[in-house]
C-alpha cells in the first residue's frame, strides 16, 4: 500500500513537471568559459520581497541609487504576495532605465559575459506547486558547471547549472536586463531595442529616451524609427532645432511616409517658420496613409494660426 502510494507520487512528480527534461546550459561558440559581473550590490530580501530586491540590485548596478524598500510600492502586489514581471519592467522605466527582456541560456551567458547582470524569474517549486522567485545572475563557470547569482538571502550563491536550468525552465527562461539607455545589450535587435526605448517615452523619461535613440543611431544610422524617436524626445525636451533636424533625417529615409513631415510641421510652426511648416504639413497630407486625418488637422491648425 505504502509502496504503491510512493510509486504514484513518484510517477506524478516525474511526469508532471519535467524534472527529467533537463536542458544543458548552452554556450555561445567562442564565448568565455567563465565570467563574473563586478559591482552588483547585494540586497538581502525581506519576506516576499524578492522582486524589489532583485530590481534594486540591477538598478544600483546601472547607476541608480535606490533601496528595495523604495521599490516595494512600485512593484509589489500585496494580493499576489509577489511582483509581476510587467511591474518590474514598468518600475525600471520609471527610473529611466531600459528594460530589455531576454530568453534562454545562450542569451543569458552572452549578456553576463558582456558584463550585464540579468534578473531571472525562476520557479523554486514544481509546476503544480510553484514558488516563484526573482534572482540576479551575475556570473557563471562552465568548467564547474555553476551559475552564480544573488538570490534571496544569499550573495554570490554558486548553483549547479543543472539545477538552475530546471528552476529557470519553469520560469520559461525569462530574463530581464536593466540597462542605462546608452548601453546596448550584447545581443540586440534593432526593433526590440527601439521598442524597449519607446517604453521610456510612455514613462515620460524623455532624457533616457533620447539617450536610447542616440545609442540606436550609433549602431543603426539608417533607422527610421530611431530618428523619429530622437525627434520626438528632443521635442519633449524643448530642443526644437535638434528635433527638426531629426525629423528631417527621417523624411530623407522615408520620403513617402507622411509621419515625419507631420511632426516636422509641428516643430517648424512652433519655431515660427510658418511657411516651411505649411509646406511640410501639405506634404504629409499629400502622402496620406492611415493617419491622414491627423495630418489634415495639423495643416488646418497651421493655416488658421
Amino acid at each position: 500500500m505504502l509502496i504503491g502510494l510512493l510509486f504514484l507520487v513518484l510517477s506524478l512528480v516525474l511526469s508532471g513537471c519535467g524534472l527529467l527534461s533537463t536542458r544543458p546550459l548552452l554556450q555561445t561558440p567562442g564565448g568565455p568559459a567563465k565570467a563574473m559581473v563586478d559591482k552588483v550590490p547585494f540586497f538581502a530580501q525581506e519576506e516576499l520581497q524578492c522582486g524589489p530586491a532583485a530590481l534594486a540590485m540591477a538598478l544600483n548596478w546601472s547607476g541608480i541609487d535606490v533601496q528595495p524598500s523604495d521599490l516595494t510600492p512600485e512593484v509589489f502586489t500585496p494580493d499576489l504576495k509577489g511582483s509581476l514581471q510587467s511591474a518590474l519592467i514598468g518600475a525600471t522605466r520609471r527610473h529611466s532605465r531600459v528594460a530589455y527582456a531576454i530568453t534562454g541560456s545562450e542569451a543569458l551567458l552572452a549578456e553576463v559575459s558582456a558584463g550585464n547582470p540579468v534578473i531571472v524569474l525562476v520557479n523554486l517549486g514544481l509546476s503544480w506547486y510553484p514558488k516563484w522567485h526573482y534572482a540576479v545572475v551575475i556570473g557563471f563557470d562552465q568548467e564547474r558547471e555553476e551559475i552564480i547569482l544573488h538570490s534571496g538571502l544569499i550573495a554570490n550563491e554558486h548553483l549547479s547549472s543543472r539545477v538552475f536550468m530546471n528552476i529557470w525552465q519553469r520560469g520559461e527562461y525569462w530574463g530581464l536586463l536593466v540597462l542605462p539607455p546608452d548601453r546596448l545589450p550584447a545581443r540586440v535587435g534593432e526593433g526590440d531595442w527601439l521598442e524597449a526605448v519607446a517604453g521610456l517615452e510612455r514613462a515620460d523619461q524623455w532624457q533616457g529616451a533620447e539617450a536610447g535613440y542616440s545609442a540606436a543611431l550609433k549602431r543603426w544610422p539608417k533607422s527610421f524609427a530611431a530618428w523619429m524617436g530622437l525627434g520626438n524626445s528632443r521635442y519633449s525636451l524643448h530642443d526644437l532645432a535638434g528635433s527638426a533636424e531629426a525629423f528631417r533625417r527621417a523624411t530623407l529615409l522615408q520620403p513617402e511616409n507622411g509621419i515625419p513631415f507631420n511632426n516636422l510641421a509641428h516643430v517648424l510652426n512652433i519655431q515660427g517658420k510658418r511657411n516651411e511648416a505649411l509646406v511640410a504639413a501639405q506634404r504629409a497630407v499629400d502622402l496620406g496613409g492611415p493617419l491622414i486625418d491627423n495630418f489634415f488637422q495639423t495643416l488646418e491648425e497651421i493655416k488658421n494660426k
Binding site: 526593433g191 517615452e201 527610421f224 524617436g229 509621419i259 486625418d293 491627423n294 488637422q297 495639423t298 488646418e300
Partner: protein
C-alpha cells in the same frame, strides 16, 4: 392625464440631455508618437513576410494542389486585421527553418492557417473568424 405627465416628463428629458456627451471624437492635430511609428513598421514587416511566404512557388503549388486559388489567398492577406497578421507571422517564425526540401511542416501550417481558418471563411461556408471580410 397627458397634461399632468408633460411637465415632469419634459424636465426629465431636459435633464437627460445634460447627461449626453456631445464632445465628438475628432482627430487632433498632434505629434505622432514613436510607439505608433514602431507599431506601423512592425505591421508592415508582418504583412510583407506573410505575402512573401504565400508568393513562394512551392507554397503556391501546394495551394493549387489543394484547389485553392493562390492569387485569391494573396489578395486576402490585405483583409487580415493587424492582430491576425501578427499571429500568422509568429506562427511562421516558429516553423522549422530549413524550408526548401522539407515542405511538410510549412505547408502544414499553410493548410492550417489559410485553408482551414481562412479559406472556408473566405468562400462563405463558415463564419468562424470575424477578421475575414466577406463579399456580399
Amino acid at each position: 392625464m397627458l397634461q399632468i405627465m408633460i411637465k415632469p416628463m419634459s424636465f426629465f428629458l431636459v435633464f437627460s440631455l445634460f447627461l449626453l456627451d456631445f464632445s465628438v471624437q475628432t482627430a487632433k492635430a498632434q505629434m505622432i508618437g514613436t510607439n505608433t511609428v514602431i507599431a506601423a513598421q512592425k505591421q508592415e514587416a508582418n504583412r510583407e513576410r506573410v505575402t512573401a511566404f504565400l508568393g513562394r512557388e512551392d507554397v503556391q503549388q501546394a495551394m493549387v494542389q489543394r484547389g485553392v486559388d493562390a492569387a485569391e489567398a494573396q489578395k486576402r492577406v490585405a483583409s487580415l486585421s493587424d492582430s491576425e497578421l501578427t499571429k500568422i507571422s509568429q506562427a511562421m517564425e516558429k516553423l522549422p527553418a530549413g524550408g526548401d526540401g522539407g515542405l511538410g511542416a510549412v505547408v502544414g501550417a499553410v493548410v492550417f492557417i489559410f485553408l482551414v481558418l481562412l479559406i472556408t471563411d473566405l468562400v462563405g461556408l463558415t463564419h468562424v473568424f470575424p477578421f475575414v471580410s466577406h463579399k456580399r
